[in-house]
């Protein structure tokens, strides 16, 4: 039996009674969950169930109406997205958000933003002093591109990549942050079956780097294959929580999905 303390120590993220109300609409209605460090957790549920809203609250894009988010033992209160990123939480977006006019490599270089320091004055006035840091950023970004398998496309314009590669690039960019927690919002949406398979393998590869992964996903095959744990949300509440097998047996979940 685990003690309560060791359980808390193993949780990288804890949501307590999280709520979000937009006007009169309750999008998230009291969600409590703990995410184990180093695990892969999938959040599933019908459209409009509040999954992305939860992601947006964790990453500081939305302020919760009530409830709390504790990351690595620290409560996160009213933090801006860039501040959340600096704590080691990276994310991708449901509709891929690359920097389309920048090159593939430059996109990942932006991911190194927090791992480098030069400011505006120094950048304009003293570029020779920063050449070293610039070189380091470029090298590290290239490493992440190779990790994700886009090394050959470094010089292409990001907007010109096919969707599958764009999703991979968005993940490479998030990984360049060296996060402890990676939130993927529908990483397989719009991908064909071959690309989805590659995405599953990539998530395994990311997990093997001891990065905790939480994903929102609709592709059940992918979810059941890679997840340690599945959270099912409907109408802003958790209606199922367990291993992929447990969730598949859960009568509430089956009802929600079959629209009883």
């Amino acid at each position: 039996m685990e003690t309560a303390e060791s359980r808390t120590a193993g949780k990288i993220l804890e949501l307590e009674n999280l709520r979000k109300v937009f006007g009169g609409v309750v999008a998230v209605d009291g969600i409590s969950a703990g995410i184990d460090s180093g695990s892969v957790t999938s959040v599933i549920g019908p459209n409009g169930a509040g999954k992305t809203t939860v992601f947006n609250m964790i990453t500081g894009f939305l302020a919760p109406t009530a409830g709390s988010i504790v990351y690595a033992g620290r409560p996160m209160k009213r933090l801006k997205p860039h501040h959340v990123a600096s704590l080691g939480i990276a994310r991708t977006f449901q509709n891929v958000r690359l920097f389309p006019r920048m090159s593939v490599l430059e996109n990942v270089m932006v991911g190194r933003h927090l791992r480098s320091r030069s400011g505006m004055m120094a950048s304009a006035l003293l570029p020779p002093l920063l050449r070293r840091e610039e070189k380091r950023i470029r090298r590290e970004a290239a490493d992440w591109l190779h990790f994700i398998g886009l090394g050959a496309h470094a010089r292409d314009t990001a907007g010109s990549l096919p969707l599958g590669s764009q999703r991979m690039l968005e993940i490479a960019r998030a990984l360049a942050l060296e996060p402890e927690l990676l939130l993927l919002d529908e990483p397989a949406a719009g991908l064909n079956s071959r690309e989805t398979l590659a995405m599953g393998e990539m998530i395994e590869k990311i997990r093997s780097r001891r990065i905790t992964v939480v994903l929102v996903e609709h592709d059940m095959e992918l979810v059941m294959e890679i997840s340690d744990r599945v959270l099912v949300i409907n109408f802003g509440r958790i209606i199922g929580d367990g291993t992929p097998e447990e969730v598949q047996e859960n009568p509430d979940v089956i009802a929600a999905y079959l629209g009883e």
Partner: protein
């Protein structure tokens, strides 16, 4: 800085060095000096518009602050011209931060509205605070700038100095764009949410680049005051701000060279039009200078319709297409 931009900068320096000998006419040298002022303001504005994706309709006001600081501190307080220019830049930075902090924290183009209002306030102040600015009659006898003991008392000297300032402005701009900070700016233009999710302080960066671009405008205003040695509120109306934005958009806001090209083109266009009117007179066609504005508008319309990326990129891709056809 990228090699291509460095090459462009060196080419620009060579052209600048050769220009006075090539034209040898004080009047046109003067036109080119005014062109340099516009270039400087547009380079700063391009950093804001093209790289951070924000529009300021108040840069004419920052030019005015730079010019009036130069006039007031030297004439009324007896400061050195350099000190007055620095003071102007400092005041501009503070004022820009005061305008920018509340508006740039919001998403969207609130800055455009706030700066438009700001520009008219500054213009009204310049007209109304007679004790400080001299009101409509302005400030006379602004001293000349001295560089290493040489007074900039001839057009040739001022020409070289003002274009050196443009080259420096471009150089600093290119350094910035190709740095970590520049990547952050381009990123937030591409997607503000994505940039923020990677740790780029989007509001902070927008405010910083707005302040920087305002300082570019302020310095161009100070140089203007030291060149003409006399300022009044006339040139600093809201339309001047609009003109600067137009220059950047016409040239192409996504590249510093584009903004530069736009500033040069639109600064020289009135001169080209007066050439054209002389020519038409020679042909016996009565051309009135009132028509200038029509032609001006038509030129802008044509550029925006057919070269929406701006003249610089538009002509660049036309040249590439031409080369491909020739190769075939």
């Amino acid at each position: 800085m990228q090699r291509r931009d460095l090459g462009g900068l060196i080419a620009l320096i060579l052209v600048v060095l050769a220009t006075p000998a090539a034209i040898g006419n004080e009047y046109y040298l003067g036109v080119l000096i005014f062109t340099a002022f516009n270039c400087l303001a547009c380079i700063g504005l391009c950093l804001l518009m093209g790289y951070a994706g924000q529009i300021s309709l108040g840069h004419g006001a920052f030019v005015a602050i730079g010019a009036y600081a130069a006039g007031i501190f030297t004439v009324k307080l007896g400061w050195s011209p350099w000190g007055a220019m620095l003071a102007g830049a400092g005041i501009t930075a503070v004022v820009a931060a005061l305008v920018g902090v509340p508006t740039l924290r919001l998403k969207g183009h609130y800055l455009a509205m706030a700066t438009l209002g700001f520009a008219s306030i500054v213009h009204i102040l310049a007209v109304a605070t007679v004790d400080l600015t001299g009101g409509p009659s302005g400030i006379l006898n602004i001293p000349r700038l001295c560089v290493f003991g040489f007074p900039l008392d001839s057009d040739i000297r001022f020409f070289y100095f003002s274009w050196a300032a443009v080259v420096l402005g471009l150089y600093l701009g290119f350094n910035l764009i190709n740095s970590r900070v520049g990547r952050g700016l381009r990123a937030l233009h591409g997607s503000e949410d994505a940039a923020a999710s990677l740790g780029v302080s989007t509001a902070g960066y927008k405010i910083q680049v707005f302040v920087l671009s305002a300082v570019y405008a302020s310095i161009s205003g100070s140089l203007y005051a030291y060149y003409v040695n006399y300022i009044d509120p006339g040139p600093f109306g809201v339309m001047h701000s609009v003109l600067l934005v137009t220059m950047v958009a016409v040239g192409g806001m996504h590249k510093l060279w584009g903004a530069f090209t736009g500033a040069v083109l639109l600064s020289l266009l009135p001169e080209l039009l007066s050439f054209a009117s002389d020519y038409l007179h020679g042909l016996g066609i009565a051309y009135k200078s009132d028509y200038d504005i029509l032609i001006y508008g038509a030129v802008l319309l044509i550029i925006m319709l057919f070269l929406p990326q701006g003249v610089f990129d538009g002509l660049g891709s036309a040249a590439r297409r031409g080369r491909q056809i020739v190769r075939r």
